[in-house]
């Protein structure tokens, strides 16, 4: 081989603590290395041009770049060598920035280590083989999990782009959390008024198939060709027949059913349509409370339903959809704030969550938009808002900021003043975080125009004063003294966490999630929509806290990723797949059993059972390679011999 080595200075990032020229000089003595240089910025245009020139001039057939992490620029340099006519896999990187120059200050040790890392890379490269991608067909259809505003936006954008969409929603209606909100910041326009039309569009768009009351059961396949099994939960109502007239819920005798949509601020009937603008506007029976199910007799709804849609015998059913990509938009839930015993741990009826407060504010809520205390129905005079309940609190293992609470607290305080002009509102806050367009102006209005009293400090305790009100004890850290407020109502800005089933879904989608259940994007900065599984994209809060505009933007971004994927008729696989040496294979099937992707099947060659890799399914983990005792399955680009070459270069 004829190998060229480029030891990047990265300005002073590397050269500050590594003698790059010396590393290049040492590299010249490595086997097959015929050229070495130490450019200032290898990744910059002149640096890349120099690599191309060297490939031509020195007839290189392999290149090693010692610079930053391959996770940063491997793709860049692969394209560089490809432009110069080399196969992109005849390239290796030595990470001498993140793994050397940035973590140690001793130049001698760093220089030595860099040279060794280059040596490993050369050793590996000498065992590299050119690899070529294979092409395969694509199913041009998108599946979206979650019908909140992010999922709705992604669905509409995909469908508008001509790509059929399957939208799967766990609840009986789409709309997500946004549908529960009264008004939205910073414009204070009605949430239902701006979301409603989009929901209707979803229902009416011919390119969108909506499965509500449905969940993902199984996912198999790979980018371009996923097969998704969807569980349609039994609603006990034939939605083909249901007209959404609501006659059933009017007559339903089981009126003490907890109202999930209203965040348990009221009760509803066992058969109901969650809210008037629900899409699909279809009734659902809550079997836990329906007398037909709990007592075995009732049947009132079946009698009154003019369409004859009630079907108590309904079972869960399944449907399988073939799609080319999947967008996860499963949103969030509020954390269980009742672990805060100092706020009563849920024992005090007038200490409520901000989302419950939204339902109290909403004209379609249980109180018709009147702010009253859940305990006695009286209008509160003093309301205390406590921010960061379950956010930025390391003591309960939740260090992250939930992102939008500062803004909605300001909004709720403003709306409170609108509803109850005589009322006084206090907001306990840690910091006000309002970095959006018109956001800070909005929160200032709460203080300046609406007279909301902002107190910088945490609340140490909330307790009933025995006379029907609540004592809110806290600290004003600006004044440096304790504060005690008698409040009629306390609203907690409860922090968010990922949807309960997010980890289970992540495992089905083979994507990663963090310890709070939020899905992991492929790169925090540069790939915020992609995941580590090709063809699975993220939208909305399932990826991390964000407000409505950001969720909508990410929904559109995910749709753009889907549309870009489908802009091609054929896809190329990553050729870093496992290969079977049929001669070595004894057909024991251990690899088949281990493969996380079902990418290995059994085949027969001359009447002997052999393993066979489906290259388009193989994701290149190499588990099979370390499982096969005789080394018959080798992962291209990470073969036993390639890794052994690296080990041998280090240990001899």
């Amino acid at each position: 081989m004829r190998i060229g080595v480029f030891v990047c200075h990265c300005g002073s990032n590397i050269a500050g603590t590594v003698d790059c020229a010396k590393v290049a000089e040492i590299a010249k003595n490595f086997p097959d290395v015929v050229y070495a240089d130490d450019p200032m910025y290898t990744c910059a245009e002149p640096g890349q041009a120099a690599i191309e020139a060297a490939i031509h001039e020195h007839k290189l057939d392999g290149v090693v770049v010692a610079s930053c992490s391959p996770r940063m620029h491997e793709a860049t340099f692969r394209r560089t060598v490809e432009r110069a006519g080399l196969n992109r896999y005849m390239f290796e990187m030595a990470n001498i920035r993140e793994h050397v120059s940035w973590i140690g200050k001793e130049q001698q040790a760093n220089t030595n280590k860099s040279a060794e890392l280059v040596e490993i890379a050369v050793a590996k490269l000498r065992n590299n083989r050119p690899l070529a991608a294979k092409t395969f067909d694509v199913t041009k259809k998108t599946l979206i999990v979650g019908g909140g505003v992010a999922g709705i936006q992604a669905a509409l954008d995909c469908a508008e782009g001509g790509i059929p969409v399957i939208l799967v929603e766990r609840e009986s209606t789409i709309g997500g959390k946004m549908a529960k909100l009264d008004k939205t910041f910073p414009t204070v326009d009605c949430s239902a008024c701006i979301l409603g039309p989009k929901m209707v569009d979803v229902a009416q768009h011919p390119g969108i198939t909506l499965y509500a009351c449905a969940e993902i059961e199984e996912v198999s396949g790979y980018v371009g060709n996923f097969s998704v099994k969807i569980r349609k939960r039994a609603t006990y109502i034939d939605w083909e027949k249901c007209t959404g007239c609501g006659a059933c819920s009017e007559k339903c005798p089981s009126k003490k059913t907890p109202d999930v949509f209203n965040e348990f601020t009221g009760t509803t009937t066992a058969i109901n349509i969650p809210f008037p603008q629900a899409i699909p506007k279809k009734a659902v029976i809550n079997a836990q409370y329906c007398r037909q199910f709990t007592k075995g007799k009732c049947g009132v709804c079946a009698k009154v339903c003019p369409a004859g849609a009630i079907d108590y015998a309904m079972q869960d059913s399944f449907v399988t959809e073939e799609v080319g990509c999947i967008i996860a938009a499963t949103g969030y839930e509020l954390m269980d704030w009742t672990i805060y015993q100092e706020y009563g741990g849920g024992r005090y009826p007038d200490v409520i969550t901000s989302l419950q407060y939204e339902r109290l504010l909403s004209a379609s809520g249980p109180t018709g938009g009147h702010i009253v205390r859940p305990s006695d129905g009286r209008e509160p005079q003093t309301i205390v808002f406590i921010q960061c309940v379950g956010s930025r609190d390391n003591s309960i293992g939740r260090p992250y900021c939930s992102g939008f609470c500062c803004m909605y607290t300001a909004k709720q305080a403003i709306l409170t003043k609108d509803h109850l002009p005589q009322s006084r509102s206090y907001v306990f806050y840690m910091d006000i975080r309002t970095p959006g367009k018109m956001y800070d102006e909005f929160s200032r209005r709460a203080v300046e125009e609406y007279g909301v009293e902002y107190i910088r400090g945490r609340v140490s305790a909330v307790y009933p004063d025995g006379l029907g009100r609540y004592v809110v004890m806290g600290a004003d850290t600006l004044l440096g003294e304790p504060v005690e407020i008698r409040a009629d109502m306390v609203v907690l800005a409860v922090g968010i966490e990922a949807a309960k089933n997010a980890p289970a879904l992540a495992e089905k989608l083979r994507i990663s999630y963090d310890k709070y259940g939020f899905f992991m994007e492929s790169h925090v900065k540069l790939k915020p929509v992609e995941t580590n599984t090709a063809g699975v994209f993220l939208a909305g809060v399932c990826q991390g806290a964000k407000d409505i505009p950001a969720s909508v933007a990410q929904g559109s971004a995910a749709a753009a990723k889907a549309l870009a994927l489908f802009a091609r008729d054929k896809l190329e696989n990553d050729p870093q797949t496992a290969q079977v040496d049929a001669r070595r294979c004894v057909g024991c099937g251990k690899c088949i059993r281990c493969c996380p992707f079902g990418a290995i099947t059994e085949t027969e060659i001359r009447n002997e059972k052999k393993a066979q890799v489906i290259e388009t399914v193989c994701q290149g983990c190499g588990l099979c390679t370390s499982t096969c005792p005789q080394g018959a399955v080798q992962l291209s680009h990470a073969t036993d011999n390639q890794i052994l070459a690296e080990v041998n270069a280090l240990c001899r």
């Binding site: 793994h99 070595r584 370390s626 080394g631 890794i643 052994l644």
Partner: protein
């Protein structure tokens, strides 16, 4: 490549591309200062890290090896690290059997965002390796010769199988023979005191079948060679476990094999028998008592009581009867008591790490790499494509050094993890009597301890532990490290 003298030690890291390599990057981005000893090899997934890479590095001069992958449940490939966890945990238990301090090997989980944790991991591990110092080698370990004790009293009365219904069995075999390509059994070998495998194809061949304590060889080793053909096999209890294991691994089809079984009363340790017989020209005869056999050589009688001359494995045997059979005859023996720690294993257990390195160096020096151990092993199914003598992959050289030889034993033992039934054929086949069975017993014990007392070769439908995983492992507590 030499390390920086007196400053660095050789520490090799295998990091998965997605989490831990990213975590190391994150640490770099955060300028989290770390010791400079570690050299990172990037692999796609911790599941790609064949434990043999680690042994290879440690035997080749690495002072420490660190594997890091995504946290359980976070694997980029969904389950690679679950498999890795089992395999690496088994390795961690196994290394001391070789005489390698398993503190020199660690595996852990670091996510791409945990730069700080990565810094802690590297710092702590490097400190640990520096505390341990440079790894001692095998080639220059002082010589140490030790031999295993004889096993304690057997769990069942041992005998010579004199009263076993051999004639009825022959009749049964003859009845089935027309449908079978052959029936594998034992016949008299080069003299009365030795047996050799019998491949009966004709009824008169069946008459050559013998039964008794000389039938030490495990004939299951031949079954995969008849793949696709219908064959019969006569088994002892231990042999039947090998058959079960082959069935479990799809190397033999259940419908293709007819298993004939008699209850085993124990087999002789031919190494010791031959030693006692010494040099002789001819065997004058062999007489079977109930619990002993008498061999006459050159006119001199030698008495071998089963109690004294049975193989160690027979004394600890809990399955004298086949665990799976089609034709079964004879009375069931009564097994009482728990299997003791096998003697070869007890011998290893009684040594410290230094002694074990010395022991293996002393033992391995006389290995000729004839691979009788491998080829006699019914579970060595790679056959002609064993990685020990392949160039691609190129795990081993032809060099005759102790580390190469010991590395082969490691390959064999690790490949047998969860598969070895303890039949002992490897050790019995060794012409120079190297007590290599201890390594297999060690790993089988580890597998049992880690995976709910799993024993290989009991249930053809069982999932072998290293081909499966639990999301929460009951007996692996890898996360307690830091």
């Amino acid at each position: 490549m030499p390390v920086m003298k007196d400053k660095e030690l050789r520490i090799v890291g295998f990091l998965c591309n997605w989490c831990s390599y990213g975590g190391a990057d994150t640490a770099g981005v955060a300028r989290a200062e770390q010791p400079t000893d570690l050299r990172i090899i990037r692999v796609p997934c911790s599941g790609r890290v064949d434990p043999l890479f680690i042994v290879k590095a440690l035997l080749s001069g690495a002072d420490g090896v660190l594997v890091s992958g995504c946290h359980p449940r976070d694997c980029h490939y969904s389950s690679g690290n679950f498999y890795a966890r089992r395999r690496l945990e088994v390795l961690k238990h196994f290394l001391p059997a070789l005489g390698i301090d398993n503190a020199r090997f660690e595996y852990t989980w670091v996510s791409a965002s945990e730069g700080q944790r990565w810094q802690q991991v590297v710092t702590a591990f490097t400190r640990r390796i520096h505390t341990l110092g440079a790894a001692p080698g095998f080639e220059d370990a002082p010589l140490l010769m030790k031999t295993a004790d004889m096993a304690p009293a057997p769990l069942r009365p041992l005998g010579t199988g004199k009263n076993a219904p051999l004639e009825s069995l022959k009749q049964a075999i003859k009845e089935k023979l027309p449908d079978l390509a052959c029936v594998i059994g034992w016949k008299q070998g080069y003299d009365d005191a030795h047996t050799t495998p019998l491949f009966a194809k004709k009824p008169e061949d069946v008459d050559e079948l013998v039964w008794g304590p000389l039938n030490a060889a495990n004939l299951a080793v031949y079954l995969p060679l008849f793949k696709g053909k219908k064959v019969g096999i006569v088994v002892k209890g231990c042999d039947s476990r090998s058959v079960v294991e082959l069935l479990q691994e799809n190397l033999v089809a259940r419908e293709d094999v007819t298993i004939f079984a008699l209850p085993c009363e124990g087999t002789l340790d031919m190494g010791r028998v031959n030693e006692k017989l010494g040099r002789y020209n001819v065997v004058g005869g062999i007489a079977h008592g109930a619990t002993n056999i008498t061999i006459t050589t050159d006119g001199q009688e030698h008495d071998f009581s089963m109690a004294e001359y049975a193989q160690n494995k027979c004394r600890g045997c809990t399955e004298p009867e086949a665990v799976l059979s089609d034709v079964r005859m004879g009375d069931s023996p009564l097994v009482q008591g728990e299997a003791p720690v096998p003697q070869e294993l007890a011998l290893l257990d009684a040594m410290n790490l230094d002694e074990r390195r010395s022991f293996w160096r002393t033992q391995m020096e006389r290995c000729l790499r004839c691979y009788a151990c491998r080829n006699a092993c019914p579970m060595c199914v790679c056959r002609d494509y064993c990685i020990s003598d392949s160039r691609d992959p190129h795990w081993m050289t032809q060099e005759a050094g102790v580390t190469q030889k010991l590395f082969f034993q490691t390959i064999h033992a690790l490949h047998l993890a969860g598969r070895c039934t303890g039949c002992g054929e490897c050790q019995r086949a060794c012409p120079v009597g190297i007590p290599i069975l201890g390594l297999r017993q060690h790993i089988a014990r580890t597998v049992g301890e880690l995976f709910d007392n799993y024993r290989a070769g009991i249930d053809p439908a069982a999932v072998p532990p290293l081909l499966g995983y639990e999301v929460e492992e009951r007996n692996i507590r890898e996360r307690e490290w830091k």
